[in-house]
């Protein structure tokens, strides 16, 4: 293995970091379950779409916030209080949760929209469409 090859790997790793990992880097989570709520991120040419699974929750149980390119989803799914009842099996996760993501530079944060249906929070994040390069006419004197 030559040093050159190592440098190539390093370069590729840096690119991978810059293009894939750093945008959307998860900045933190809190809660009982590491992976709750589950998040999918999809990318198209002109937008990203985040799908957050929040089954059993109502709008008032969670909040969504974007501050300084950091998107935060947090809320609480209270454990049901059983009166005159007993648990036979309990597999669902309860309690407070928080997930925080760094948004890529290209996201237009002012235009983020979200909707909630069937336990799914869908967040639409438009990508800034860079203006086409403008040709500058050179006057010849």
């Amino acid at each position: 293995m030559t040093e050159l090859a190592l440098r190539e790997i390093e370069k590729e790793m840096n690119q991978l970091w810059e293009n894939w990992v750093r945008p959307w880097f998860e900045l933190g989570w809190e809660g009982e379950e590491e992976n709750f709520p589950a998040v999918d991120i999809l990318k198209a040419k002109d937008h990203y779409r985040m799908i957050v699974e929040l089954p059993g929750l109502s709008e008032k149980d969670f909040s969504l916030e974007v501050d300084n390119r950091v998107l935060t989803i947090k809320g609480n799914r209270p454990e049901p209080e059983l009166k005159d009842a007993r648990w036979i099996r309990q597999e669902r996760a309860y309690g407070e949760f928080l997930r925080r993501f760094q948004l890529p530079e290209e996201v237009e944060t002012e235009k983020i929209e979200a909707k909630f249906k069937n336990g799914i929070l869908e967040i639409h994040l438009p990508i800034r469409q860079s203006s086409k390069p403008k040709e500058i006419r050179i006057e010849v004197h």
């Binding site: 880097f25 992976n35 990318k43 699974e53 059993g56 049901p80 099996r89 669902r92 336990g119 799914i120």
Partner: protein, 145 residues
């Protein structure tokens, strides 16, 4: 000071270890690529009059969920599809579970299967299984002799 020979392989090992850690921590950790079956989490509790089963099935259509009681066994099955086609999207991160699922639970003998009710709301399937009349505890009045 002892001279240590430079060992590029050791550095490569270290690099590899760092890369693996990066992937584990950053985002391949929760991804379940290629896995086509999943196990939806289920809560079950019992009250005096009924047994309640709640299964987490976010982002589904009720017609894609099948609930059956046969030979005193409750089964829930269906398939959750990935939808992304129409918008020409690529996956960046997948943590949600998708594919087909199947769960089954044997029921106690005191359940009245004919009166079972299943409802899908807010991504949760709730099945209420009433107990048979004779299975409910009865208060017996004690009379003074």
């Amino acid at each position: 000071m002892a001279l240590v020979r430079w060992d590029p392989f050791k550095e490569l090992d270290l690099l590899q270890e760092r890369i693996s850690r990066l992937f584990d921590e950053a985002w391949l950790r929760p991804a379940r690529r290629g896995e086509r079956t999943w196990i939806p989490p289920v809560d079950i509790y019992e009250t005096e009059n009924e047994i309640v089963v709640k299964a987490e099935l976010p982002d589904m259509d009720e017609k894609d969920i099948e609930v059956k009681i046969e030979n005193n066994v409750l089964s829930i099955k269906g398939e959750k599809k990935l939808e992304k086609e129409e918008k020409k999207e690529n996956y960046h991160l997948i943590e949600s579970s998708y594919g087909s699922f199947y769960r089954s639970f044997s029921l106690p003998g005191n359940v009245d299967a004919d009166k079972a009710i299943a409802k899908y709301e807010k991504g949760v399937l709730k099945i209420t299984l009433p107990k048979k009349e004779e299975a409910k505890p009865k208060q017996i009045e004690v009379k003074a002799g």
